[in-house]
């Protein structure tokens, strides 16, 4: 028995390596290389702080992702609620003792890293709800109790993040949660009605927005109303993308970013810089890489035996897509500016950590796809 176990675990390990999704891994590594080179460009063609930091984080978190992928999917299933609960505690901690930067209190100081729990919540809310709905029978999904429970799961972190204040992330958290609800089979009518209600209450919501948020909406509707103030970011961003043309200005040749016309070029507007330097073709290739990654994530979901893994992969893939879409729409002037990073590409440890944990769980689902969870 003991020997058998040893043998099994040994063959198990090689089997696991064999089962790693190499296409997904290749996609992630490719994206990492692109993001590090882009970061190198934002540093003006030098290996400076952002490049180094981004590189170190990417290497570290890729390692973490591989580590996670070898952990049994059951482990993630078992700790889902606890993890969610810990992040909630962290968010509460953030609200009270967090580090404030540019007007919002988002980070907690862990001495070796400043962590942004709201970013992690984007992933762990999926995990939590996936576990919840894993056990639910389909007819119970639409029960009053389960709707209320999932509402609380979503609204609790949302409200904790909104008071930081960080509207963008809280919206993204809720979208992650709603995606799980969608896949778990919640009745279409709820989505339809809540969509209708939110559209109708939009003017009401806008009146409750903070002045700077209102300004963002107004600026989105007409960027030229204050070209040097509120509209500056979006105008410069569009100029950068538009001037890139079909083939781009070339690596390290992006004048808009090099001459510092682009704001937030390391983080939310990283795609603008990339698009300026590599043009339409480069942007399409980047989108293609993202598409491949998301496709693989969904593919893994579809081959997973366990409902939990399936639910997680589909939702994670969906939320990745939403994050990418929102970020790009924002920098291309299709949506108002809300803080939302581009996964992997944007500078920012917490966001990358969350995404990598997500990929790790997906990989784990692949490796353990035959595993059923009771």
């Amino acid at each position: 028995m003991y020997l058998h176990n040893r043998l099994e675990s040994k063959s198990n390990f090689f089997q696991k390596i064999k089962d790693v999704d190499f296409i997904l891994l290749a996609g992630i590594l490719l994206l990492g290389i692109i993001s590090i080179s882009t970061m190198y460009s934002t540093d003006g063609g030098q290996v400076l702080f952002h490049t180094k930091s981004h590189f170190v984080k990417f290497v570290l978190f890729t390692g973490l992702m591989l580590l996670i992928s070898f952990l049994n999917i059951r482990f993630w299933f078992s700790i889902s609620y606890i993890a969610y609960f810990i992040i909630i505690l962290m968010l509460i901690w953030t609200v009270n003792f967090g580090i404030t930067a540019s007007g919002s209190q988002r980070w907690i100081n862990l001495y070796f890293i400043n962590l942004q729990p709201s970013e992690l919540m984007k992933i762990f809310i999926i995990l939590c709800l996936a576990k919840y709905f894993h056990r639910k029978r389909l007819e119970n999904v639409n029960s009053f109790y389960s709707i209320i429970f999932s509402m609380i799961i979503i609204l609790l972190p949302m409200s904790l993040v909104i008071i930081q204040p960080d509207l963008g992330t809280s919206i993204l958290i809720s979208i992650s949660g709603i995606l799980v609800l969608w896949f778990s089979g919640l009745n279409h009518k709820y989505f339809f009605y809540s969509f209708l209600i939110s559209i109708l209450s939009l003017p009401f919501i806008i009146s409750f927005l903070k002045p700077y948020q209102k300004l963002r909406v107004l600026t989105f509707l007409n960027p030229d109303r204050d070209p040097l103030g509120a509209g500056y970011q979006i105008i410069q961003s569009k100029i950068a993308v538009g001037s890139g043309g079909l083939f781009g200005k070339g690596f390290l040749q992006g004048t808009q970013s090099y001459l510092e016309f682009l704001p937030e070029k390391h983080t939310d507007f990283i795609f603008t810089l990339f698009s300026e330097e590599f043009g339409f073709l480069g942007s399409v290739i980047l989108l293609l890489i993202y598409t491949i990654i998301i496709y693989r994530v969904i593919k893994i979901g579809s081959i997973s035996r366990s409902y939990f893994a399936k639910l997680f992969c589909y939702s994670f893939g969906g939320s990745l897509f939403v994050f990418i879409t929102i970020n790009m729409s924002m920098v291309l002037g299709l949506l108002p500016i809300v803080g939302s990073p581009l996964p992997i590409m944007s500078y920012g440890g917490s966001s990358m950590l969350a995404t990598m944990i997500g990929f790790g769980i997906v990989m784990s689902a692949k490796i353990h796809s035959k595993q059923a969870i009771a």
Binding site: R137, L138, E139, L179, W182, F183, S184, G185, Q236, K238, I239, A240, V241, G242, S243, G244, G245, L246, T255, Q256, L259, E260, F261, S275, G279, F280, S283, V284, L287, T291, I294, I298, G301, S302, Y307, K310, L311, Y314, G318, F321, T325, M328, S329, L332, L334
Partner: protein, 624 residues
């Protein structure tokens, strides 16, 4: 088993929803790609332009102003290298230390120092702070010697206006100074080329030819970052220097005119009687235009402004004087032309004993004892007023004014070349009726005959008049700019009907200068090479009362403002005339005593220079 079927249901549900969402994703992705396509491919040009507009900034540099040259190609308004001192605040580690070092080296006054500090607050830290725009060489080299511990201090050599002949050309050229708001508003070209520190013509030819002189800006194109800091130079587009403008004036004669008028208020004009070239045109007193280039200081300005001799007034062009007896050649010519008199017409001048009386007014000759019986030649020679009273009475003011106008009186000589030029005044009966609304009276005709009353002339008009008398009564068009085109058809067309009449007047003027009892006999030159003919004039500034006449004071005993203007017109050499001269000395006294002697010195120089001028001209053609 129930569990099993539920699982199947759940799987069906999740897979179905997955496909719905996948379809939505494809649509959204398509949306993003098409947006990218729209921005990057379709609207690429627009955004590329915007991006260049963002990053490329042009800096205009002051254009290099064109020169003025005299007839012989000497620069009379040029450029010199001005030494400037700039500070770049951002490059200075310890601004307080550096600015105090600079202050000590340049010995700046508290006032200047405060101005610089104020300026510093108005500029961006990487922009140049101009501490001085005209350092002396001494200070400039001192700064250069101390550069080792003056980081961010930049000595700069720039180009600025210089008038090497100082006060000699002030009234012709005018001067340049810092362009002000008024200059920018009134001239589109200045507006277009304006940069900080641009100097533009304020008056005179500098102003008239501003658009030719100004040149084009050099342009530096820099790549700048979002904060306007220059990153790299992309291009340097060199501007063109402004046009060089060549005058007809001979600097040597101009300088002599200035010397002759030293300490006097007045004007000297010299003109070529065939080409119309203005050889010299000077108004005295003058001032040094270089003082205005960097802004004149208050003391100097007060000195110039409050001078009773009015250095700011260009007397050659805007001094309206009664011509006095210098009008007599025109009166005589008009009478001869209109056949009112002939050369033998005589009048008996009895002096103050029996003055001409008309409607209760008396008209005295200047000579107490009278001239006796005089004919035209004798009357001109001795400038007998009584004779010309009679001629004028017979001639009538309207015929006189017609002749005077033909000779260039009563209208601007240079048309619109100078803003400040006055047109003088040639009165006529209709003029008085129209302008003053009163009828002409005969007494006014009488005094017009000796150049008093309403008649007003500028020195340059008198010069033109004399030139046209000297060339035998042909119309000439005065020229100050060598290349200016004056292809008027009536150029050099005769303006007298009978050339003999002109000859008679010339001869009478000859006698006035070269024969005993002539009013300017003392100033004659016997050498036929330099011999000239002229006519004196003494214009009253105030009416001579009976008391004055009895007192008969010497000029020096009368207050300055009440002294007569001394005038003299002349042409020479008499045998073969080429140049005409007009001299006006404000409040100088009698024309014969004060103005005519200047002509003597002037003609010597003019005739000597003629050879050189002629050779220069023929050489010029040979070179072509």
């Amino acid at each position: 088993m129930i569990n099993q079927s539920d699982n199947v249901l759940k799987l069906n549900s999740i897979n179905r929803r997955m496909f719905i969402l996948a379809a939505a994703k494809v649509i959204l992705l398509g949306g993003i790609v098409s947006r990218l396509f729209f921005l990057q491919v379709k609207e690429n040009k627009k955004y590329l332009t915007l991006s260049d507009k963002n990053r490329i900034r042009e800096w205009k540099l002051p254009p290099v102003r064109g020169h003025f040259e005299d007839y012989f190609g000497n620069t009379i308004a040029g450029n010199f290298e001005a030494y400037e001192l700039h500070l770049i605040p951002e490059e200075i580690e310890n601004f307080k230390y550096t600015i105090n070092r600079v202050r000590n080296i340049l010995q700046l006054s508290e006032n200047q120092f405060q101005k610089i500090l104020k300026k510093k607050d108005q500029i961006k830290p990487w922009e140049n702070l101009i501490v001085s725009n005209n350092l002396t060489w001494e200070n400039f080299s001192k700064i250069n010697n101390n550069l080792y511990d003056l980081n961010g201090v930049k000595p700069v050599i720039s180009v600025s206006r210089n008038y090497p002949f100082k006060e000699n050309y002030t009234h012709v050229l005018g001067y340049v100074s810092q362009a002000n708001e008024q200059d920018i508003i009134s001239n589109e070209i200045i507006k277009e080329k304006f940069v900080q520190g641009l100097k533009v013509g304020k008056i005179g030819l500098e102003k008239t030819f501003e658009n030719d002189l100004i040149g084009t800006n050099s342009i530096e194109r820099y790549e700048v970052n979002a904060y306007g800091r220059r990153i790299s130079q992309l291009e340097f587009q060199k501007g063109d220097k402004g046009k060089t403008i060549k005058l007809t004036i001979d600097t040597e004669i101009q300088k002599l005119a200035n010397e002759l008028l030293a300490e006097k208020a007045g004007s000297i004009c010299v003109m070529d009687i065939f080409t119309g070239h203005v050889i010299a045109m000077h108004s005295s007193p003058s001032f040094d235009p270089n003082k205005f280039v960097f802004g004149i200081n208050t003391d100097d300005w007060q000195l110039i402004r409050n001078d009773p001799m009015k250095p700011l007034v260009n007397k050659s062009l805007s001094g309206n004087y009664s011509p006095g007896s210098t009008i007599k050649p025109i009166v005589a010519l008009s009478a001869l032309e209109n056949k009112i008199i002939n050369a033998n017409f005589r009048v008996n001048c009895k002096g103050h004993k029996e003055p001409l009386e008309l409607y209760g007014q008396t008209y005295h000759c200047w000579k107490k004892e009278g001239h006796g019986i005089v004919d035209m030649r004798e009357a001109m020679k001795q400038s007998c007023d009584t004779y010309f009273y009679e001629v004028a009475r017979r001639l009538g003011v309207d015929k006189l004014s017609e002749t005077a106008k033909k000779f260039g009186l009563g209208k601007k000589v240079f048309e619109d070349l100078f803003e400040i030029e006055k047109s003088g005044l040639v009165p006529s009966t209709s003029w008085k009726k129209n302008v003053l609304g009163i009828n002409w009276v005969l007494g006014e005709t009488i005094i017009t005959g000796i150049g008093q009353g309403y008649i007003q002339t500028t020195p340059i008009q008198l010069c033109l008049m004399t030139a046209q008398i000297a060339n035998g009564g042909h119309k000439i068009i005065p020229k100050l700019i060598v290349d200016s085109k004056t292809d008027d058809e009536d150029k050099f067309s005769p303006i007298v009907e009978d050339a003999k009449n002109m000859k008679l007047v010339q001869d009478a003027m000859f006698s006035s200068t070269n024969e005993v009892r002539g009013t300017s006999y003392k100033s004659r030159i016997d050498d036929p090479k330099y011999q000239f003919a002229g006519k004196t004039g003494t214009a009253q500034v105030k009416r001579i009362t009976k008391q004055d006449r009895e007192l008969d004071l010497d000029t020096s005993e009368i207050p300055y403002e009440e002294r007569d203007h001394a005038l003299y017109i002349a042409f020479g050499p008499y045998k073969n005339p080429r140049y005409a001269v007009s001299i006006v000395i404000e409040h100088g006294g009698s024309g014969g005593a004060v103005a005519a002697p200047l002509a003597k010195q002037l003609f010597k120089k003019i005739i000597d220079r003629h050879e050189i001028r002629k050779n220069f001209e023929s050489n010029k053609y040979l070179n072509i």
